[in-house]
Subunit: 120 residues, 2 copies
């Protein structure tokens, strides 16, 4: 399965999914898939979430409670789940606020290993 296929399998199986994007820590998107109704600036989100992730990684180092696995951010309009793939890469699922967050998190966990393999 190609990287795009893996991302699409998340996008198409999670109700309310708007986009799935794989990114480097510096905020450069590596690959992305978006649903038909996406009016969101994925490039902007990529850079911004990369900055947040950097701050969260720093925090997690300070609190010494194990390695960072996942961050989710919910606003009144969207929800983003960000999952760490390795030291350099992460991927994010953007959902509508009424989307299926639980299934999104589950699918991301499930596809995490596959994505890491495809990117190594």
């Amino acid at each position: 399965m190609s990287l795009k296929d893996s991302l699409n399998s998340i996008l198409n199986n999670v109700e309310g999914a708007i986009a799935v994007v794989v990114m480097a820590n510096d905020g450069i998107p590596i690959d992305e898939v978006t649903g038909p109704q996406s009016d969101i600036d994925i490039q902007l989100l990529a850079v911004e979430y990369a900055t947040v992730l950097k701050e969260v990684r720093r925090t997690v180092d300070v609190i010494k409670m194990g390695g960072l696995e996942e961050v989710s951010i919910a606003t009144s309009r969207i929800c983003a789940v960000v999952r760490v793939l390795n030291e350099e890469l992460f991927f994010a699922l953007i959902l509508r606020r009424d989307g299926n967050l639980g299934k999104g998190r589950y699918m991301m966990k499930l596809k995490s290993f596959e994505l890491t393999q495809e990117l190594s």
Copy 2:
């Protein structure tokens, strides 16, 4: 119901809950309750999560996708759910990694209004 009672009703109803703490944005804890097996430095967590929340708030302002409601951070050992109460206050639930995150998020949403009332 007092503030501590409200916090305890979350702590006691969520499997795997370690602590619930109400904080100001500057990281100063207002009130907290902890479970019997807590060996976590809540003061340190409070300050660190306040810093993360500040960064996330900035990001959410930039991406213009509505107001921030909730942030969750999962490491290999713990999971923290942080929920915004108002411009100045937030509260956080710290769970074991195998704790009931879904119920935690639900209980926090449910108690959010009550806590805001008690703090105003």
